[in-house]
């Protein structure tokens, strides 16, 4: 695992998410896409580290620290373990993984945000479903450039 490249990629994606995409109402969650990518294509221990780190980045550009560290970390780790049992190699499966992870992680993060005293918004479901769907459509296409940058072979099955 090339950690320096991971740091550069994560910084770039975080800045893009917070800068370029900040004004969109419904937007793809690039950090979610990155989470699923590393959960699928890395070793389990590396997937755990990357999941929590990506969650930290997601919280840094959000409003409350903590919810996405936990939700991204938990579901990224679960996805990494699931990938040991069921290979998530084809694009439709990757899309489904992004969509489901987005819904679950988003719901859990929202619950923790509510726990921290932030009020809910009436259109939470629209935002969650819209973001997860958008990310699921766009995500698999972003796996290849990410794999190129990280020097990861995408046809590799990381079973161990």
């Amino acid at each position: 695992m090339r950690w320096f490249r991971f740091a550069v990629l994560l910084s770039l994606v975080t800045v893009l998410q917070a800068g370029l995409l900040a004004h969109w109402n419904i937007k793809p969650d690039l950090l979610l896409i990155l989470l699923v990518f590393f959960a699928i294509y890395c070793d389990t221990s590396e997937a755990v580290i990357t999941s929590f780190t990506i969650g930290f980045a997601a919280d840094v550009i959000g409003f409350v620290m903590g919810p996405q560290i936990i939700s991204f970390g938990l579901f990224g780790t679960l996805l990494a373990y699931l990938h040991r049992l069921i290979a998530i190699r084809k694009m439709p499966y990757q899309s489904a993984a992004i969509f489901i992870t987005g819904l679950l992680a988003g719901a859990l993060a929202h619950f923790f945000t509510f726990l921290k005293g932030q009020p809910t918004t009436p259109n939470i479901y629209t935002v969650l479903i819209g973001t997860s769907l958008y990310s699921a459509i766009v995500g698999p296409f972003l796996f290849l450039p990410s794999a190129w940058w990280m020097r990861i072979k995408t046809h590799r099955f990381s079973g161990h």
């Binding site: 975080t14 917070a18 800068g19 580290i49 919280d59 959000g62 620290m65 903590g66 921290k116 918004t121």
Partner: protein, 254 residues
């Protein structure tokens, strides 16, 4: 074991006081200020704009409209003060206020929350709860302050609650952000005549705001679902918040 340690760290972040954990967000905004501003400029320039050279630009028009609305409301307020306190000296609104300008570093609009990070903080006299002006209209309040930066909660944020009054009416209500670039004013009886286009003003608040200032305009007014005796009022900001590059913070009696 690694997973357990990380989860523990996550829960520590979750339950730590927000004024401590917000420092990470401020540091990120400070370090990546330049690429964030470039990304924002690119995002805004991607929108198609029609410009008619012989007319006043929309932003200047909004500024003038807001200024006019503020002046009219302040004048009405002054007349009421004179009637009520005739014989006593009246201080002009915002006469004792300091209005430091601040650059917008990061904007988050859309999704669940709406806010800005600006480059002024405790060092410049900012404090939680102070009102923030954009194009002569209230856009929100300071929600968190660091030494040299501050976070602004826009009034369209779902956590925002600001007391407002609708122009021409003598009723005050609590306006709530609904997280989608607008806010709602609940519990307004249909006996009041409210029209689309009516100005909405933030009520004066002792120590924070000594005159009503425009905050938005009514964009929708219909009967509330299931409550035919109440209006469902939607308010949009009086300025284009996404295009703001600088804002002013109202510091009363610095």
């Amino acid at each position: 074991m690694l997973f357990t340690w990380f989860m523990l760290a996550g829960f520590i972040f979750l339950f730590a006081p927000q004024n401590i954990t917000n420092r990470f967000q401020f540091v990120f905004a400070r370090i990546f200020r330049w690429p964030l501003s470039i990304g924002r400029s690119v995002s805004l320039s991607m929108r198609v704009r029609q410009s008619l050279p012989d007319l006043v630009p929309r932003r200047e028009y909004n500024q003038l409209q807001n200024h006019l609305a503020n002046v009219i409301e302040q004048l009405n307020q002054e007349h009421k003060e004179v009637e009520k306190l005739s014989g006593m000296r009246i201080r002009l609104p915002l006469a004792g206020a300091k209005l430091p300008l601040a650059d917008v570093i990061k904007v988050s609009i859309g999704g669940l929350h709406a806010g800005l990070i600006i480059n002024r903080g405790r060092n410049d006299g900012l404090a939680k709860g102070q009102f923030v002006l954009g194009d002569n209209s209230i856009i929100g309040t300071i929600s968190d302050v660091a030494y040299r930066q501050a976070q602004v909660r826009l009034f369209t944020d779902s956590a925002s609650r600001i007391e407002v009054k609708i122009a021409g009416l003598s009723i005050d209500r609590l306006m709530q952000g609904n997280g989608s670039s607008s806010a709602k004013i609940p519990m307004v009886s249909t006996k009041y005549k409210i029209r689309v286009g009516d100005k909405v003003f933030a009520r004066k608040k002792p120590g924070l705001l000594d005159a009503a200032i425009i905050i938005g305009t009514v964009t929708q007014c219909k009967e509330a679902d299931g409550k035919p005796l109440l209006w469902d009022i939607t308010v949009k900001p009086a300025c284009d918040i996404e295009r703001l590059e600088d804002v002013a913070v109202i510091i009363m009696n610095p």
